[in-house]
């Protein structure tokens, strides 16, 4: 294993930075939709693709995304995990997350999976295995942020 050199003095600094990120038209439309209890995917008539997260431009067809469609209320888990360690300031761990492809959409979007009993990690992981169907659950109080919704198991 590694050996740690003798401790020497360090110079301690704490950096506090703040940002105001421009959301823009596309994400703004998406987050307005969340407030209304809808998940809006951008669509491209040239490629016939529906994107989540939404895009301004379809790089596959080299044409702008020119429409919006409401994503299905259910979808399929494409990748999932139960996060156990390593994060402060998010939801308390252990916590289930997944990339889900909602019905009618061609790409997957990440969010928490609610209602997963994480007391047994193996059982929790099995319950959210890729291929599992889930539905969208909206928060009662919505603020126009990605955490306005999450996924839950169909039998939850």
């Amino acid at each position: 294993m590694s050996t740690e050199p003798a401790a020497r003095p360090v110079l301690h600094q704490e950096l506090t930075l703040s940002y105001d990120y421009a959301i823009g038209e596309v994400a703004g439309t998406f987050f307005d939709g969340l407030r209304d209890g809808k998940i809006l995917a951008s669509t491209c008539s040239a490629s016939d693709l529906a994107y989540l997260p939404p895009r301004a431009y379809c790089e596959r067809s080299f044409e702008p995304c020119d429409g919006w469609t409401e994503a299905g209320e259910e979808g399929v888990i494409e990748a999932s995990t139960v996060v156990v360690r390593g994060f402060e300031g998010k939801r308390p761990t252990p916590v289930a997350i997944a990339f889900v492809r909602l019905d009618g959409v061609d790409s997957a979007i990440a969010n928490y999976v609610d209602g997963v009993d994480c007391s047994d990690i193996d059982a929790a992981v099995a319950s959210i295995a890729p291929g599992t169907r889930v539905r969208v659950a909206f928060a009662e109080e919505r603020e126009g942020r990605i955490t306005d919704f999450s996924f839950e198991l169909l039998d939850a």
């Binding site: 294993m1 590694s2 050996t3 740690e4 050199p5 003798a6 401790a7 020497r8 360090v10 600094q13 950096l15 990120y21 959301i23 994400a27 987050f31 989540l52 997260p53 790089e59 494409e78 990748a79 999932s80 995990t81 139960v82 996060v83 156990v84 360690r85 390593g86 994060f87 402060e88 300031g89 998010k90 939801r91 761990t93 916590v95 997350i97 997944a98 990339f99 492809r101 061609d106 790409s107 997957a108 979007i109 990440a110 969010n111 928490y112 990690i121 193996d122 929790a124 992981v125 295995a129 890729p130 291929g131 942020r145 990605i146 955490t147």
Partner: protein, 402 residues
């Protein structure tokens, strides 16, 4: 007919969690001095410097490449910083290759340093890599992204976390012979399985350490090779490929290139091997230094680069196929990225190890009968991949086939 470009010398420091005896730039200087000494060169013999530097948040000095200019003897010369995340070191070697093959310069120093433990906030910094609007509110990091990839790979091939656990066992044992490696030692599959769970199926021992250290490589054209190195490692193949930022476009059955299999690596390898005239990687390549910060990632590359079929790499590991001695291909005889990960220069260390094998300077890690070796590097959430092929002779490279 392409111009030959060869590795003149390499240098790396011992890697560890911290190096409190030197500052970041002093550590970069150790590598620059070390590579120059190894080549028998002085700073005036270097025409240009390519500097490896990944996210600056890790060390808290914005664009610290500026701080390093004096230390790596770049004052008075062209200086180029390269940053493609974890693939920075591989991209830097490719940048140097381009500078030399274009005949802009005759000799290029590739150098960099990294320290990842001077902040307690590494996971938060990695989380900042994710989209601010759609992804940053979730616990997404490299750790959890690889866990998500693994959920697809293990399910598709009917494998378990136990199958992944052989990689750190083999590589920490290999690293015992590498004086520069960070983590090393005898561990068992059960030790891996019993190490703390990070994000299912990844345990602590499936994950690389955060390493501090520095490294450098000097590359030269035919004239520089003649003057300084009778036994160079020639770069006979290279390829870099980028993919979409959006994980959800890649973690899906609808994906162009499935991240669960890391299919981008297959595209990258095809192009590199096409240039080098390699048609049978398993038969023609003796050593593979793969960028494998997680047990899963080395196996995915072995499969996607064509060393074995999909889902087969873990089983072949159990049979000893990837061992340094008695195996088919020596995979990460240095211990690889699983044992040492100084992000900004990890790709450079892979290239150094692969080049050393060709130059016969790999010490106790040396494989026998080496003619071709590869180094890979991966950046972003496997968004950037590159492959470099080193050979013991300059073999005229072919046009890439996509």
């Amino acid at each position: 007919m392409t111009d030959p470009v060869g590795v003149i010398s390499t240098f790396q420091t011992r890697f560890g969690s911290r190096h409190p005896d030197v500052t970041y730039v002093e550590q970069a200087q150790q590598a620059a001095v070390g590579a120059l000494h190894a080549a028998g060169m002085r700073p005036d013999d270097i025409d240009a410097v390519v500097y490896c530097m990944a996210p600056t948040f890790f060390m808290g000095v914005s664009d610290a490449d500026q701080w390093a200019v004096d230390h790596v003897f770049a004052a008075g010369k062209p200086f180029f910083r390269i940053h493609t995340g974890g693939s920075t070191g591989g991209s830097a070697v490719h940048a140097a290759l381009g500078l030399l093959r274009s005949r802009m310069f005759r000799s290029v120093l590739v150098v960099g340093a990294e320290r990842l433990n001077e902040t307690a906030d590494a996971q938060e910094i990695l989380n900042l890599t994710f989209d601010a609007f759609y992804e940053r509110d979730m616990p997404l990091s490299t750790n959890t992204s690889v866990a998500l990839m693994a959920s697809r790979y293990l399910q598709r091939h009917g494998l378990t976390e136990r199958d992944l656990a052989r990689a750190p066992v083999r590589q920490r044992r290999s690293a015992l012979k590498n004086p520069y490696a960070h983590l090393k030692g005898e561990i068992t599959v059960d030790d891996v399985l019993e190490s703390p769970l990070i994000a299912h199926p990844l345990k602590l021992y499936d994950v690389c350490p955060r390493s501090s250290g520095s490294a450098a490589m000097i590359l030269g054209d035919a004239e520089t090779i003649d003057a300084f190195q009778p036994r160079p490692a020639f770069i006979n193949g290279f390829s870099s490929v980028s993919d979409t930022y959006w994980l959800g476009d890649r973690l899906s059955d609808e994906a162009d290139l499935d991240l669960g299999e890391m299919e981008i690596a297959a595209v990258t390898a095809r192009e590199c091997f096409g240039r080098a005239g390699i048609t049978d990687p398993f038969g023609e390549i003796q050593v593979a230094e793969l960028y494998d910060p997680y047990s899963l990632i080395g196996y995915l590359q072995l499969e996607q680069l064509g060393f074995c079929a999909g889902g087969e790499a873990p089983r072949l590991d159990a049979e000893g196929t990837w061992d340094l001695h008695g195996g088919g291909v020596a995979v990460n005889p240095s211990g690889g990225t699983l044992c040492t990960n100084p992000i900004a220069i990890t790709g450079l260390v892979r290239a150094i190890e692969a080049a050393n094998q060709v130059m016969g300077t790999a010490g106790e890690l040396q494989a026998t009968g080496v003619r071709n070796t590869i180094a890979t590097a991966i950046g972003g959430m496997a968004q950037f991949t590159n492959v470099t092929l080193f050979g013991d002779d300059h073999r005229d490279t072919q046009e890439p086939t996509r």
